[in-house]
Symmetry: none
Subunit: 190 residues, 4 copies
DNA sequence: TATGAATGAGATTTCATTCAT
DNA sequence: CATGAATGAAATCTCATTCAT
C-alpha cells in the first residue's frame, strides 16, 4: 500500500497559488494545477472533492498560515509602538514573501468559490491587531477615529507596498521598510 | 464589428461589471453577460469580437473614465495641498461610486485577458498625480522618499477605504472623508 | 432565431431507446445518444439538464404513452371478457411494437436514475386493469384470488411473450395471439 | 489469475449482486464492489482480469447454480404433473430467495458485457423443462401449442410473482404458492 | 441587426486499471 | 497476496462561438 502523501497536498497548493498569480482564478484549470503539481488529473480528486473544495481548502490554509505569521514575536505586554511595528513588519513580510497567497486571497474574495463564512473568517484574523489599535487609542498614542479607518491606512498601504515591490522587482531594504513604516505611523499617530 | 448602438454597449459593460463584482472574472460566462444585459448571446458578438475583446475594451473604458474623473476640478496652478486634496477626494469618490469598476480592474490585473500593455496604460493614468507629488517634494511639503511609496500610502489606503465602505455599507460623511484625508496627509507630509 | 425543435426531443428519446436495447443502460453514453440522434453532445444539454434528467423524462414519456395505448378501445361498459381481451391485446401489441421501451423501463427499474416516485407512477398505469379484474371477480368470471397474482400471470406472460417474439424473430399471427390469450384466460377464469 | 480463496470470490459475487439489485449494472463501479466486498480495489483484479470478466463469471455462476436448483428433486420417472409442480416450485423458490440473481441476469441480458454465447447458455438451462413439457403434450395433459408459449406463461408469471413478492414484501405461504400454481396449471392444461 | 439554438472544443469529473509498498 | 493511492482515458458537462432564421 502506498500511503496517502500529505506532502502532495502542499504541492497542489503551491501549484494553485503559482497559477493564480500568473493568470488569475479565471485562468486556471484542474489540468493545469495537476500538471504544475506534477501529478495526474485524477489524483487531484483523491485529495479534493472538486475544484471548489480545493479553492476553499487553500483559502482556509492561506488565512490560517497568514494569521500565524502576522502576530509572531508580537507580545501584547510590550509598549504599543513596538507591538505595532512588529505586526506591521510581519504583515509586509508575509505579503511580499507570499505574494501568490495575497493575490489568491484577493481573487477569491470576488469569486464563485468562497462562501460568506470564509470571508468572515478572513476578517477575524486581524482581531488581535484591532485590539492593539483600540489600546493605542486609549493610550492616546494614535488618533481617536474609527479603527476601521486606521486599519485601512495600515493594511491598504501594506497591500500596495507589496504589489509595487513585486511588480517593479524592488528590493525592500530596511531603510525602505522603515521609511514606509514612518509614513504609516505619522498617519495614525495622535 | 462595433456599430452605433452605444447604449447597448453600455448595457453590456454595466452587466459585466455587476457580474464580476458578484462572482469574479472566474464566474462569468458570455451567456450570463448577455442575459444580464438583456440581449441575446449572439448579439454580444456583434459588438465584441470575443470574450477577450469585451474584457479588454471594458478595461480600457474603465481606465479612461477613471482617469478623467481623478483629475476633474484639479488645477495644477493651485497650491499643492488643494490639488492633492481634490485628487484624493476624486479617487475616493470614484472608487466608491464605481466600486464594480475597481473590483473589475483588480481582477483583470491577474487574469489571462489583459496584456502587459494595458497594465502599463493603467499605471499611466496616475501620471499627473505623480507629477504633483514630485512638486510637493520640491516644495518641501511632503516627505522626500520615493514617490512610489507615497503613492502606496495614498492609493492603498483609498482602495481599502472603498472596500470597507462598500462591504460594511458605511455612509461616507464629509467628516469621515476629512478624517481619512488627514490620516493620509499626516503620513506623507514633511 | 432558430426555434427550439420539439421534434429533436423525440429523436433523442428514440436514440436512447435504441441504444439501451442494444447495450443496456450501463452501455450508453451521452456522446452515443447525441451521435445516434444526429446532434452535438452539447445540444443534448439544451434539452436535458443532465443524463439523469434525460433518463427520467424518457421514463415518464414511456409510462404515459404506454398507459394511453393499454386502454385504447377499452370500454368499461362492455362485457368483462371483451374488455379484458382488448387490454390484453393492447399490452401485447405495445410490448412488441415498442420493445425498446419495455427493455428501457425494465432496466430503469433497477438503476441509479429513477426515483421511488416514478416507480409508483409506473404501477399506477395499470389501475384501470386492476379495477376491471376486481369486477371480473365480482362477476364470478375469474378466480377469487388476490388481484396481484392474477396480474402476475397476465403481465408476466405478456412480457415473456414479447421477449420471445423479439429474440426469436417470431411473427405474431392472430392464431398465436389467440392461443396465448387462451392460455392466460384459462389460467385466470373461475 | 484466479487462485484459491474461494470464499473471497463469493464475497465479491455477493457484493456485486447486492449492488446491482440496488442500482443496476449502470450504477456499479469496481470501487463500490470492492468496498461492499470488504476488500481493496486492487484485490478485485487478483481474482478477475477486469470488470467484464467479473460480470461474465458471475453470470455463469448464476446460470449454473440456478440450473442446479431448478431441477433438484425432479425425477423424470414421476408422473408429469408431479414433475412440473416440483420444477415450478423450485423456480419460484430460487427467484425469490435469490432475487438479486434474477435482477442481475435480467440486467445482463441487455448489457455490453454478456456475449451471445452466454445468452444461449442461459436458454439451455431450461432444456429439461422443455423436454418435460414436450412429454406433457404427448401425454395430452397440456395444450398442444408451441412450447415457447407454454414456457412464456410459466416463466413469465414466475418472474412477475417473484418481483411482486419482493417489491411488496409479501410472505409467500403455501396457499399463495398453490393458488399461483393452479393459475399456471389451468392455463396450460389441455 | 437581433436572436437563441446548435456546435464542439475543452473543462470538470469519474472510474477501470495499474503499481509501488 | 493485499492494499489503496495513482493514473489517464473516457465520461459528463460547460461555454465561447457560430449560424440558421
Amino acid at each position: 500500500m502506498k500511503p496517502r502523501d500529505e506532502n502532495k497536498i502542499n504541492e497542489i497548493y503551491k501549484a494553485t497559488l503559482n497559477l493564480v498569480k500568473a493568470s488569475g482564478l479565471a485562468g486556471i484549470t484542474m489540468q493545469m494545477v495537476a500538471k504544475e503539481a506534477g501529478i495526474a488529473t485524477g489524483t487531484l480528486y483523491i485529495y479534493f472533492k472538486n475544484k471548489e473544495a480545493l479553492i476553499n481548502a487553500l483559502f482556509d490554509v492561506c488565512i490560517r498560515s497568514s494569521a500565524s505569521t502576522f502576530f509572531s514575536n508580537y507580545d501584547p505586554a510590550q509598549p504599543f509602538k513596538i507591538g505595532f511595528h512588529t505586526i506591521w513588519l510581519n504583515i509586509v513580510h508575509r505579503r511580499v514573501t507570499h505574494f501568490n497567497e495575497s493575490i489568491f486571497i484577493e481573487q477569491c474574495f470576488h469569486s464563485p468559490f468562497i462562501d460568506e463564512e470564509s470571508k468572515v473568517r478572513l476578517r477575524k484574523i486581524f482581531e488581535p491587531l484591532l485590539h492593539l489599535i483600540e489600546r493605542g487609542k486609549k493610550e492616546h498614542l494614535i488618533k481617536d477615529i474609527d479603527t476601521t479607518w486606521l486599519l485601512s491606512l495600515m493594511v491598504g498601504a501594506i497591500n500596495e507596498i507589496a504589489k509595487r515591490t513585486m511588480y517593479y522587482h524592488i528590493k525592500l531594504t530596511s531603510e525602505i521598510l522603515e521609511a514606509n513604516f514612518q509614513l504609516c505611523w505619522d498617519g495614525i499617530k495622535a
